[in-house]
Symmetry: C2
Subunit: 298 residues, 2 copies
């Protein structure tokens, strides 16, 4: 990227950061949503559209940014009904309005066949926090306290044979991206907010990614992790994925309220950053490597 | 879009225009490329990647913009070889370097099945021309002269049964987006450059779109239209699509050189803007409605 001085941060974080027009940096993110993979056949269009937009918005929030605009690409099978295609794009626009993101452009294409999964691609740009700037995942420091917003787990249910079962109307379709929470954190903590990312693939896996990017180790304390109902087992919850909560680290001992003022989302200290690598869970005397506890969506 | 004052231009033109950071507007565009639909199975990855980036870049050029950065989304079948996926992303980055667009982020997903067409989604942001601003398709005026860059036709060959035959290594894979030409036009003509778009779906269809957006009629003069080798028939060429040339209108009588200085791309006057609607082709005494002469890529 050396040839392009406008690129302040390339691939690898929740968003890229690019300088435009000497007007300061913006955030960029693309995310895709595939039928069968990210939603089931019977999912209402409104929830498909909402999730498609909410996922990259969660990444904008994870950098402490706020949304500017989105673009929507959609590929459908050749015989997809025109009325349903129109309804989908209406739903995308409506979801954008509801989430505070204008959808300013789009492209509709069709597969040559009468089959093929509905495929959505949403690109989003965002403003960085004016004072704090983009909050990266690679800037955690040994000694930091580790926090999450909200609760973990509950997007999937554990079935008797220990396979994950998609919860139809669950959190993975209806979550609210933590834009207001992230903005509050950057406002309140400024330079004491060291690193942040969103938890999309499982707390264990994502915390390990933050650890790797920062060259540190994250130690989670099992008894501290706030679980979503009806989840009971921490090891299940941290592998669940689709939480779309913020995982962030702050200077050791930074005082934080129990809930984000004016929003009400819980803020919970769940562990510590130490020297080392990966992510471990402390349960009493046990230390469990949970760096692989997660879910690859690709 | 009234709720979002940052949106200066929504869907309907080559790009959207959005205000960021009080730093002035930027251009946004998303475009998708689908196997079988936009390229054939045997097309080299390098050419697939190049076309995927060149198409939205042509839209940035069509607004007289210059590229800032791109995002790449890719969906492949589940058993797509990892080495080939890596090679594709390498090719996307390399094409970006060659075309002057850093690819700053991406998302790879897979269909749940072992089948499914390779699907690329490229989003691009661009700077507007500092002095002229974004050149829209909706601002042509009756009396304007109508121009194109380069030559028209030749992406497809006409077969004996008059169906279009895809030309494998043809222009549709190797065209150069007219970024330098568009910048030169905006530099040289400023306010005399009234309206512009790129010709992607056929000169007849696209000129009619410009006419409709501007509330005018475009009259093309058959004998003036510069044809690509080996095309002979104007009516075939203007329906061909995938030209990725600039179609633009200028104040009547504006003096233009025959080629863009320093670049060499031909500039050819091909007609006139008049009051009315749609696009017609004058061939001697005949006046042919060519508003539908084109190719819908979706």
């Amino acid at each position: 990227m050396d040839a392009f001085p406008q690129v302040l941060l390339g691939p690898g974080d929740d968003c890229a950061v690019v300088e435009v027009n000497d007007g300061g940096p913006i955030l960029l993110k693309v995310d895709q949503l595939i039928e069968h993979r990210h939603f089931t056949l019977g999912t209402p269009l409104e929830l498909i559209a909402r999730k498609a937009l909410a996922r990259p918005l969660s990444d904008i929030a994870a950098m402490a940014g706020t949304p500017i605009a989105a673009l929507a690409g959609c590929v459908m099978r050749r015989d997809y009904p025109q009325s349903r295609a129109n309804a989908l794009f209406d739903a995308i626009h409506a979801s954008g309005m509801a989430l505070g993101v204008p959808v300013v452009g789009g492209d509709i294409a069709s597969f040559l066949d009468d089959e093929g999964p509905l495929t959505l691609s949403i690109s989003m740009i965002g403003r960085v926090h004016a004072r704090r700037g983009p909050v990266r995942r690679s800037t955690a420091c040994a000694g930091d306290d580790v926090y999450v917003t909200g609760t973990i787990g509950g997007s999937f249910l554990e079935s008797p044979n220990r396979e994950f079962v998609f919860v139809g109307g669950g959190k993975h379709l209806t979550f609210t991206p933590r834009v207001r929470e992230a903005t509050w954190l950057a406002d309140a903590l400024d330079g004491d907010l060291h690193a942040m990312m969103d938890v999309s693939d499982g707390l264990g896996l994502d915390a390990a990614r933050l650890a790797t990017a920062s060259g540190v180790r994250v130690e989670l304390e099992s008894s501290l992790i706030p679980l979503s109902e009806p989840t009971r087992r921490v090891l299940h919850a941290i592998a669940d994925g689709e939480d779309y909560e913020l995982l962030f680290t702050v200077s050791r001992g930074t005082a934080l309220p129990t809930h984000v003022p004016g929003v009400g989302t819980p803020l919970t200290r769940i562990g510590t950053v130490v020297a080392g690598a990966g992510c471990v869970l402390r349960e009493g005397d046990r230390v469990i490597d949970v760096s692989q506890k997660g879910f690859e969506h690709a």
